[in-house]
């Protein structure tokens, strides 16, 4: 009934609204006739509608303001209306002048926005440019409706560009020169830090002299508190007009926000529209979402297809401004203006500079007269490089000698260019010939810097191909000669090359800057220092050379100054964008890939300094960078290499293999790439394949100490210690000072239980470099294994004199101290781990383990353990055992379900798997899934029985101690030197902590188990006792229960209760008897 009534009310209300307001009353009273209730309701609705309407006015212009005074402005008449507000012609009192006053719609502003508005307004006042409408004043004035934001600006009579373009017929040339003026003005604003964000013809005024003046600079931003500049979809009507000129990143509200390149895009649209008399995308009469899709996904029709006259440069320039990916656009309005002007002058435009033929064409066209036929032929043969030289040649009026020297130089040049795809021996002969030619050239003209430089490069290339270190010095001399012979300006590329040569030499990498990732032998520091000097000098001479800065950053990286390096890399990339049009793609690709690796590197080793907040983010960024680099250049082997490394780190093994194989197609004998490939196979568990690769490398590069060292490391993975010893020996033979090689050798000897030889090697190593950390660590470990615990402890103390913050050292020292029974000191060492800058999750897991499951109750610190576990679990790649430890943290935090989820992911048959089953069992028990708890426990037991004691990976782990306890009860392990003193009975503790039933009868009478019980029994907490008793009761191990009762009588009641409730009836009486 009410529904019917409501329908009537609605009908009358609707009909009433269609009538003018003053007729409504009469209509309603007639329509309702005698139904007073109905009439009352309709009238109330109409009244409410009026009030609601008043409270929420539809945006309209407000003519009533004309004639009023707003602040110091008297409004004369409405000039126009836009999405943001109404523009009035207004008269200002002091100084007396006409201004255009814009009153911003949107009414009430919060204090925060008002503040921002005022701030932005200040910036607008700083823009002074003939192409920009001058803002005199902006701010807010109080009115009866609240604070009203306004902008007062130069009153520029004239028409908008839209109208102007309709009236004046503009030739393409006129359009280009007009666009250049507009872009120039936009650039001026950009330099002041103001982005327009709403450039469109309606915002550009044309004065009578044909000078464009841009309106509303920065206003969009000033009134829009949201800096990320989402499309203001609320301004629906205005929106479409604006959307046409919006860049894809503006349309989609790109998270990176809007920058100067977004304005460049809008300029491109304006240019396109001027030239083609249509917009690049048909967004009018299209739903917003569809329009956005068009802008983001479709390339506009090339201008040349619309008008043949626009083919070539015009088309290219506009298309470059309209690139959907802003990294491919002109990087500033100035660049855009520059190309427009270059085009107008008939010079080569930058947008096509990746095409050398095009540049030659333009150059020849311009220099037709000044160049002879011969030069022209030369140019066409040698391409851009010589052209560049030729220009400088012209400028400096090179003397006769230089011209003569050019002959052998060009001959050499041509030989060098033939290198591609040539077999090594052939190339070697050719390279030597090229060196002879270059020698000839510098003999004729010793000031021929480029020839010196080339000779250095060819020599260096030979050196790298053959690993012939002797040639390095000669190359460096060539580079220095190149620099010196070039006069005052110097020759920065040569310095750069020299720095690269040194870096490459130290880490055995091909020339050119590379990401350097291995720590270096002591003598390398000197080389690196020299390289640093070369770079610094080159950077001083040519501050705009980003290659040099890139190398400097990479050098920082190689000396582990990772955050500094990354900051620098970011800076380089930011600067390089826009400065290297000719090589931008190459540089970017290079920078991105290097940057990406550095992120990876940071993720790996500096986890808590900058990847701490969100490691996944860095990995994601790296991924983006690499994808970008590959997009720019599919054949960029470095990017492929980086992609491969990243894929491996994210465990996308197949991708990793594919990328590295592509990289190897480009550089089939590259050491780092083969090394990366070996690593991928190693991660995939294909250890033999990895070793085969590394063995191939030492066949190819028998002189490379680096390759031998890698091989030594790999032999460690498979446990072939004899082979490891051999490889390490070779590495030492080649570079006797390399610390890693020595520590590998000591490790290999130690693993073969040749302790005396290991000790001798250790002394040799520290004679060469006293602070060889690896050597010290391996020596200490050897002492520990031999049971020389006091000496081991002293050794660690010695290590801490020169290396304070290594988490592995703290961990190992803690183990030694534990074995010595110095529990508290051991705990102190473990606690140090959490403050080590290079703490890695796997090592940190030991501290977690100590907090959660220590033998010593006082060490247990559940909260810290759980907190650290969070840190550990953030790392994308941790060992299975570490993952297993985290499950314990879940269990302890009472997150049983999560513990179960995590444990279910660990299904290996090793110690980690065993541990996972134990936690799983405990979690099931906590969730009272008794059956599953027992099932998991049995699996754990089976796994335990199958594990071997020399599971070296886990020697430090609690699990190992548990195992040791068990095995010790049966037989003496083969290596009796192992310090079983560490096993001071954790077994029982673990058993109680993890609710392991003590069902192994073989352990019943074992002293270790008894010992393990008694120390904790001195001051048992009720909880522990309860656990123990509960477990015993569960597993019906009644015989052991009295032992506990002897230790702690006050658990008798608990026990009694449990037994009565949980033991089968038949056994209960027997047990009760034993209690009494």
């Amino acid at each position: 009934m009410e529904g019917n009534n409501w329908q009537r009310v609605k009908q009358i209300f609707a009909d009433a609204l269609k009538r003018p307001p003053d007729e409504r009353d009469a209509f309603v009273s007639e329509a309702c006739q005698s139904d007073l209730g109905l009439r009352h309701e309709v009238e109330a609705l109409i009244e409410a509608d009026e009030q609601a309407e008043a409270a929420c006015p539809e945006p309209t212009s407000e003519p009533k303001w004309v004639g009023r005074k707003i602040g110091k402005y008297r409004l004369q008449r409405i000039l126009g209306e836009g999405g943001m507000g109404v523009v009035y012609l207004a008269e200002q009192e002091h100084p007396r002048r006409n201004v255009a006053l814009k009153l911003i719609k949107g009414g009430l502003l919060s204090p925060a926005i008002r503040q921002r508005f005022n701030y932005e307004a200040g910036a607008l006042g700083r823009l002074h440019h003939p192409g920009i409408v001058q803002v005199y004043d902006a701010g807010t004035v109080e009115t009866e409706l609240g604070d009203q934001p306004f902008v007062a600006m130069e009153f520029a009579p004239g028409q908008t560009l839209t109208e102007y373009a309709k009236q004046v017929s503009l030739s393409p040339r006129d359009c280009m020169s007009l666009m250049a003026k507009i872009a120039d003005a936009v650039h001026h604003a950009h330099q002041q830090g103001v982005i327009h964000r709403d450039l469109k013809p309606a915002n550009i005024l044309m004065d009578s002299a044909g000078q464009p003046k841009i309106l509303d600079f920065g206003v969009a931003r000033a009134i829009d508190a949201d800096q990320s500049n989402r499309p203001s979809i609320t301004m629906t009507g205005e929106m479409i007009g604006t959307l046409s000129y919006m860049s894809p990143e503006q349309c989609t509200g790109s998270p990176d926000g809007v920058d100067v390149r977004s304005d460049v895009y809008s300029l491109g649209v304006i240019g396109y529209e001027l030239l083609a008399h249509r917009l690049p995308h048909k967004v009018r009469h299209t739903p917003i979402t569809e329009a956005v899709r068009l802008i983001c996904e479709k390339d506009p029709l090339p201008l040349g297809k619309i008008d043949r006259r626009l083919r070539g440069d015009v088309e290219t320039i506009i298309a470059k401004a309209l690139e959907r990916d802003r990294t491919r656009r002109y990087q500033s309005a100035a660049e855009f203006a520059g190309d427009l002007e270059r085009h107008l002058d008939g010079r080569a435009i930058v947008a096509r500079s990746d095409n050398s033929w095009y540049i030659l064409h333009k150059a020849l066209h311009r220099h037709r007269r000044s160049l002879g036929l011969v030069s022209a032929v030369l140019l066409s043969v040698l391409g851009v490089a010589v052209y560049a030289w030729f220009q400088s040649h012209q400028r400096t009026q090179a003397n006769e000698r230089r011209v003569t020297a050019l002959v052998p130089y060009l001959r050499a040049q041509r030989m060098i260019e033939r290198r591609q795809g040539m077999a090594h021996d052939q190339w070697k002969a050719l390279a030597n010939e090229a060196i002879n030619q270059l020698t000839e050239a510098v003999k004729i003209d010793p000031t021929f810097a480029t020839a010196w430089y080339q000779r250095g490069r060819v020599r260096l290339h030979l050196k790298n191909a053959e690993q012939n270190t002797l040639v390095l010095d000669r190359s460096l001399r060539d580079f220095e000669m190149a620099h010196e012979s070039a006069g005052d300006a110097g020759f920065p590329p040569a310095l750069w090359a020299a720095g690269n040569a040194l870096c490459a030499h130290v880490v055995h990498r091909p020339i050119r800057h590379r990401f350097v990732y291995s720590p270096d032998p002591p003598h390398a520091h000197e080389a690196m220092g020299k390289a640093r000097d070369y770079y610094a000098k080159a950077a001083r001479l040519d501050q705009s050379d980003h290659y040099v800065k890139l190398s400097q950053a990479l050098l920082l990286l190689s000396t582990s100054q990772v955050p500094e390096a990354i900051a620098m890399l970011e800076q380089v990339v930011a600067d390089a964008v826009g400065q290297y049009q000719d090589e931008a793609h190459f540089l970017l690709a290079l920078a991105w890939s290097n940057l990406a690796i550095s992120y990876w590197y940071g993720l790996h080793d500096q986890i808590d300094t900058f990847a701490w907040h969100n490691p996944r983010w860095d990995s994601l960024r790296a991924q983006q960078h690499i994808e970008r680099a590959l997009e720019l250049d599919r054949t960029n082997d470095q990017a492929l290499w980086a992609a491969s490394i990243l894929a491996r780190r994210n465990m996308r093994i197949d991708d990793a293999k594919r990328y590295i194989e592509q990289a190897l197609e480009i550089r089939p004998r590259s050491i780092p790439y083969h090394n990366a490939r070996a690593n991928i196979h190693a991660v995939a568990g294909e250890l033999q394949k990895a070793i085969n690769i590394l063995q191939q490398l030492v066949v190819w590069y028998p002189q490379s100490s680096y390759c031998w060292r890698r091989l030594a490391r790999a032999q460690l993975w498979v446990g072939d210690y004899a082979a490891m010893e051999e490889a390490a020996g070779k590495a030492i033979e080649l570079v006797p000072d390399h610390e890693d090689a020595w520590s590998n050798l000591i490790l290999a000897l130690r693993k073969q239980a040749r302790f005396q030889e290991a000790e001798a090697a250790f002394h040799d190593a520290i004679n060469r470099s006293p602070n060889n950390f690896g050597a010290w660590m391996n020596h200490a470990e050897a002492l520990y294994i031999q049971g020389r615990l006091d000496e081991a402890a002293e050794t660690y103390a010695r290590i801490f004199k020169f290396k304070l913050d290594d988490s592995t050292a703290h961990l190992n020292f803690a183990r030694v101290l534990k074995a010595l029974g110095r529990q508290e000191e051991a705990f102190e060492q473990l606690k140090q781990i959490s403050s080590c800058p290079n703490k890695n999750p796997d090592i940190t897991a030991h501290l977690v383990c100590e907090y959660l499951a220590s033998d010593v109750p006082a060490h247990r610190d559940q909260a810290s353990g759980i907190e650290l576990a969070v840190f550990v679990s953030r790392s994308p790649r941790i060992r299975p055992w570490t993952r297993a430890i985290i499950t314990l943290a879940d269990y302890r935090a009472g997150r049983f379900e999560q513990a179960l989820t995590r444990t279910s992911e660990i299904d290996s048959c090793d110690a980690a798997g065993c541990w996972a089953r134990l936690v799983e069992s405990a979690s099931h028990q906590a969730l009272t899934n008794r059956r599953q708890a027992l099932a998991s426990m049995h699996i754990a037991e089976d796994l335990l029985a199958d594990l071997t004691i020399d599971d070296a990976e886990y020697t430090n782990s609690v699990i190992f101690k548990y195992l040791a306890g068990r095995w010790h009860s049966h037989r003496q392990p083969a290596d009796s030197g192992l310090p079983y003193a560490t096993v001071n009975g954790p077994f029982a503790v673990i058993a109680s902590n993890h609710e392991i039933p003590l069902s192994d009868h073989r352990l019943d009478d074992h002293p270790i188990v008894r010992e393990g019980i008694s120390p904790c029994g001195d001051a048992p907490t009720d909880t522990i006792m309860e656990f123990r008793v509960k477990n015993l009761a569960h597993s019906l191990e009644l015989t052991l229960v009295p032992q506990f009762l002897k230790i702690s009588q006050h658990n008798r009641l608990v026990c009694l209760y449990l037994v009565l409730h949980q033991t089968p009836p038949l056994q209960a009486p027997r047990f009760l008897r034993s209690l009494s």
Binding site: E2, G3, W6, V9, K10, F13, A14, L17, A44, L45, I46, E47, A48, D49, Q51, A52, A55, C56, G106, G107, L109, S110, A112, I113, I223, D224, A225, D226, Q227, S228, R230, P231, S232, I233, T234, T236, T252, G253, P287, I288, T289, V292, R293, C296, E297
Partner: protein
């Protein structure tokens, strides 16, 4: 703009269009989360004011979740209907939260930061609006739906008309009627509220 998220939502919308009720149930919490995250993002960064409008949020959610997938207008209507529900829930929660804070701060007024201008008439008491909408839904389901689409999803009259497949005229009249009724209802509520005092 996770690509992984795009497709499922577009598919969900099609499923809803095919009458799959389960899909509708899946969509709501998804949208709720997305919008809440977006809204919090705005608030957290103090990006308050003009652009902090439900409309912008909903459209942004649309771009993020559906993106450029090809979805018919009717099915888009399902999206905006669900978004309106989610948005309403968020606003009401926020109002409750604010109420609690207001009480905690000893009745100190806290600026309304998150009210779409189109809801200005109701800005003072969003909770009352929420209750009144419930009553309206019983009385006039279509009016309620239009109200929701217009104010919580920020659709224009024309867009609302396409989403519901009715004429823009009908939308206008129904909407004004619903708005007037709500306004009246809430004003009525005002007086009762005054009697109850602040200790509600």
């Amino acid at each position: 703009m996770g690509a992984s998220q795009e497709a499922p939502v577009a598919t969900l919308l099609t499923q809803i269009g095919d009458g799959d009720e389960h899909a509708a149930k899946t969509l709501l919490p998804l949208l709720y989360d997305e919008l809440r995250v977006l809204a919090h993002g705005y608030l957290a960064k103090e990006r308050v004011g003009l652009t902090l409008q439900t409309t912008a949020l909903v459209h942004e959610a649309y771009l993020r979740l559906v993106g450029r997938a090809d979805v018919s207008w009717t099915n888009r209507g399902h999206f905006f209907a669900a978004a309106a529900k989610a948005m309403r829930r968020i606003l009401v929660e926020q109002a409750r939260h604010r109420d609690a804070k207001k009480r905690a701060a000893g009745g100190k007024r806290i600026d309304l930061e998150f009210i779409p201008p189109s809801l200005n008439p109701f800005a003072d008491d969003l909770l009352a609006l929420d209750e009144a909408l419930d009553r309206l839904e019983v009385k006039d389901p279509r009016g309620c739906e239009i109200m929701m689409l217009r104010h919580f999803s920020g659709l224009t009259i024309d867009e609302t008309a396409s989403a519901l497949d009715i004429s823009p005229r009908t939308v206008t009249l129904d909407w004004r009627c619903a708005r007037a009724w709500l306004y009246k209802e809430i004003r009525k509520g005002d007086t009762t509220c005054l009697e109850d005092g602040d200790g509600r």
